[in-house]
Amino acid sequence: MKGQPVYYINGIGILSPQKTFDNDAFLTELSSYHENVLTCVTPEFKNYINPIQLRRLNRMLRIGLTAATICLRDAKVQTPEGIITGTGYGFLDETAKFLRELLQQQEKQLTPTYFMQSTYNALSGLIALSVKCMGYNNAYVSRGLAFENVLDDAMLRLIENPDANYLIGAFDEAAEVQYSASIRETYFKAEHIHNLDLFNTTTKGSIQGEGAAFFMLSGKPSDTTWCVLHDMQFIYNPADAEEVKNGVAAFLQKNSLSIQDIDLWVDGASGDIVRDSVIKELAQTTFKGIFHTRFKHLCGESCTASSFALWLGASIIRHQHVPDPLKLYPEKNPAQLKTVLIVNQYMNKNFSFFLLRQK
């Protein structure tokens, strides 16, 4: 691990189906849902966005801009050197409105707002305008690895300029159009379940989630540092579980760690009896006996759910505590929570590993 660049998470802002917008409270109360669509718990937007700006923003832009604002305030950074966002599907609801109007109006007399707010880079542009950031601005739209691509980009940039602050984030919305299509493909469960019982189900599909999470990433620590992001890696479409197991082993070896060095691993199981197969195998083999938690019963499944996992891992290290409803096995907290490994999966095709350590 010596000589390898490290990255500091110096601020976080996240809006999710749980009450996560308050950085001082760490899952003190859990939101439960009796339907398969989990939507964001939001604060009063007027506390974060000026009313003139607020009136034209759609729900997801409000959520994204609020999360980014919370992150900037948390990191005590006014203007970052760059802004990078990632999304699996972008603003699907707004895209649907735009396309509907296009059809209804026979491609004439289209209102500009729907179009502007349906573009993938609308959020990163909006944040840049809000904080007057003239620096690097990019948006990745790469389905289940969108957030991982954002991180990859920021990490490469920080190697060149470790002093810089990059505001990086991810967002995906629980859009109706995606829900109906996903039900047909059995990506989401056909039967209604209670979200906190997600991992007790034995059927195909997960539950739909959404959220926006922002992180201030820098090569230098600050007095607001949550934890260190030591490394991140992803695998696309592995041939079998063995390839993922070998990937985990190589990732740990690259970082001079063994499985026993991991105080907690966070898995990205989605409650899908079929698509969780690799994660289940990892739990029974590679990570057997390692303190363990999972998160998708809290935030639902989305292309960028790994951003929720990164917040969860960083929060656990910061608070040195795993909330009781999240404990899986063994139930007793380890003596320390210094090294956290997140292993996320999306559709059993996109796998990513995040290694977090205490500052």
């Binding site: 009136r55 007399q109 289209l110 209102t111 500009p112």
Partner: protein, 90 residues
């Protein structure tokens, strides 16, 4: 029967609030003579595009000269007067 300017003022006010999400945003003392842009309501260039589309969609009026727009979109009353004079749909 053709709508009067005053009827159009009432109709436009409701339409503007809906189209531009101005609910809870109207400043104290706002009326049909308050300037929509600048020191008045503070609308911006995107709003002006929305207003151009609104004129076309609801009243069948196509504004082609940007200079004309400055006068037409000065206030709700100037919009109502312009629609009253130029629209065949009211």
């Amino acid at each position: 029967m053709k709508k009067t300017v005053d009827e159009l003022v009432v109709e436009l006010r409701a339409e503007l609030i809906k189209q531009l999400n101005l609910e809870d945003m109207l400043p104290e003392g706002f009326n049909e003579n308050t300037p929509l842009f600048g020191e008045g309501l503070g609308l911006d260039s995107i709003d002006s595009l929305e207003l151009v589309v609104l004129l076309d969609k609801n009243y069948g009026i196509k504004l082609k000269d940007p200079k004309e727009g400055r006068h037409v979109f000065y206030s709700i009353r100037t919009m109502a007067e312009y629609i009253h004079q130029n629209s065949t749909r009211v």
